[in-house]
Amino acid sequence: MDVIGNEEAKTAFVDWLNNKRGTKKAVLLYGPPGVGKTTLVNAAAGEFGLKVIEMNASDARSEKAINRVAGPATAFVALDTFSTESKGSILFMDEVDGIAGNEDRGGVSAILKIIENSRIPVIMAANDPDLDKLRPLKKVSALIRFHLVRIPLIISLLQKVCQREHIAAEFEALERIAENSSGDVRSAINDLQSLGETTKTLTLQDTVMLKARNRDISMDETLRGYFSAKSLLEASMLLSRSNVDYDDFLMAVGDNLPLRYPDPADLAKAYDFVSRADMYKGRIGTENWHLLRYFYNSLAEAAATSPESYKPFTLISPPIRVITLFWTKGKRTMLDGICAKIGHLCHVSHASAKMDFIPFIKVMMARNKADGVMSWFGLQPAEVEFLANMTRF
């Protein structure tokens, strides 16, 4: 079976399916999300030729609803002792810990009834088996525990996926994706897919924005519509319909505008409108929200600067600012630490230390004349080395 990890759980589940279920009529698979509970059920069904009758959390869990979907299946399915030769059915209820509140009143007792009357195996899956209300289910079920999948297994799975999808990926990138998933295979595959959609060569750098990407779908749509708008009106309509975050959107527009307007005159004009929009944003502050319409108006004008020049282009989606700040944080922290030492001894702000002292110290260093100065500032060897290697600004 192509399900990775959780070997014990797999064996236990197959044993249970193969009539070794002892006195328990049902089985409860439990463990963190994305480790293969649902996948295992489907894979096993495929392998043993079973039909899966599925219910999940999105279905209403009232007694009525459960009886409607599962009742007929459990009551009328042939009386055959379910075996691997004759094709049978299994009832699979995913996310049974989702049973909660008024809407699902009676859900647990309905499931209990089903288990009691069922002639086909009943399989349940849950993330958190410790919930009090699941206790009655646990009493009548065999329990199979799933663990987080180990990172190396996820990496090798991702490698297989890449091979199949013709994605050339750096090992480090896959490693980052796998680590980022912290053992959740599903999320790792989702991340790989969303990254693989834009690039067929995946580097470590591409993985930085994983978190931000995952919620960016409506942002991308808005941006595409925005940049391809054929008129001021179309751009305004689109902006009024979209509910993307203003700041994120402004940042994305700032990054993508040069791709939209290759002509410098158009670009300058469009940026001027975006700059005006940003000024309105600044003036809105925390209270003048009535200015928002002017913000949108200016943004729409930027989109409609020269509609006829539109050519499709690939969006830059992780904001350049966020990526830059992420990769340079170490440098900034180091430089600020050095500036703090200089500022303290020379009675200047960190900013002034950077502007008025560092350039001169760099010149002295280039001539090997800065040792005294640097030891007076109390710079550590790492800081001295950092300054020596820093490109001058």
């Binding site: 944003k281 340079t328 430089l335 002034s352 350039p359 010149v363 004349k369 007076w376 600004f393």
Partner: protein, 332 residues
């Protein structure tokens, strides 16, 4: 704790310790010395003027003259541009006035020097005004700023204001020569003139340039050395960014902008200010072109203060440069 009193940086080594040693500020020094004779009469002070004209030096001299050797115990030095917000300022002032309540001799207060106070926002200044009031029994403030206009009226009216103008050329040259003599550096006249031109009235800048130049060629500082040092210490990245933009390489220029922000932690307004300074040094532009571009920079400098996102304003400014560069049809 052992401290190394002998400073290695000349700006500190030659920073005047007494008001009398301060160059070129006769009027200010005379009035301040009147306060020193009877410290009880000293009000809060506001020292305003461009960088490197002696404001911090005067403030530190006052601290020394009031408290003598123990000045550090009775003085709290804060820099508004380094503190994260008015709350940290409030906490530090509160803690400080609590522990330094014991008066020193005939000085019934402790001293709080708040540098770059015009970097504080309006609301923060209003809060500062409250702090000044509540701690007035135990503390005196010396506020230092570049532009007194950026300090709110209620604070200005509580302070005696001293304005520091651009230092006199001759006084700066004399100071440089005096330092050179002390350090056994031969500094010729053209070199001193060149340094003073470069420093634009900022003595700190001038002294740093002198010290660097003297390290450059074993104690001989001539004009050529100075030019070399100035060239090597000037902000090359900003120059490059301007050139790229003027060449129409907007995306490259914007990449450099992000490098300045990311790798060096420059703020939007710092970059704009550097652009303004570097623009006038560019030899490939005519005076008229420089004036036009400076006007553009000025507009976006203003927009930065109004806007919410400095990246957008900087990008828009670079786009304007790229447009001008294209219209000009030449490369720099």
């Amino acid at each position: 704790m052992a401290t190394n009193e002998e400073s290695v940086m000349w700006v500190e080594k030659y920073r005047p310790k007494k008001l009398d040693e301060v160059v070129d500020l006769k009027d200010i020094v005379t009035s301040l010395k009147a306060f020193m004779r009877n410290p009880k009469t000293m009000p809060h002070l506001l020292l305003a003027g461009i960088p490197g004209t002696g404001k911090t030096t005067v403030a530190l001299c006052i601290a020394r003259e009031l408290f003598g050797q123990n000045w550090k115990t009775f003085t709290l030095e804060l820099n508004a541009s380094d503190e994260r917000g008015i709350d940290t300022v409030r906490e530090r002032v509160k803690d400080f006035s609590r522990y330094s309540r014991a008066a020193f001799g005939n000085v019934p207060f402790a001293l709080i020097i708040l540098d770059e106070s015009d970097q504080m926002t309006g609301p923060a200044q209003t809060a500062l005004r409250r702090i000044m009031e509540t701690s007035s029994r135990t503390s005196r403030f010396i506020l230092i700023c570049n532009q007194s206009g950026k300090i709110i009226e209620p604070i200005q009216s509580r302070c005696a204001i001293f304005r520091f103008s651009k230092l006199d050329r001759q006084a700066m040259i004399e100071q440089l020569c005096c330092i050179a003599k002390n350090e056994k550096v031969s500094l010729d006249n053209e070199a001193a003139e060149r340094i003073v031109d470069y420093a634009e009235g900022d003595l700190r800048h001038a002294i740093n340039a002198l010290q660097t130049a003297s390290a450059y060629r074993e104690g001989v500082v001539d004009e050529k050395t100075v030019s070399q040092v100035i060239g090597e210490a000037s902000p090359i990245q900003v120059q490059l960014m301007i050139r790229k933009a003027l060449n129409g390489e907007f995306v490259e220029a914007r990449k450099m902008m992000y490098d300045l922000i990311g790798s060096y932690g420059f703020s939007g307004s710092e970059i704009v200010r550097q652009m303004q300074r570097e623009l006038f040094k560019m030899s490939t532009l005519s005076p008229e072109q420089k004036a036009d571009l400076a006007d553009v920079i000025g507009e976006y400098d203003y927009r930065l203060t109004q806007g919410a996102n400095s990246d957008i304003q900087l990008s828009a400014l670079l786009a304007q440069f790229a447009k001008v560069g294209k219209a000009k049809g030449e490369t720099c």
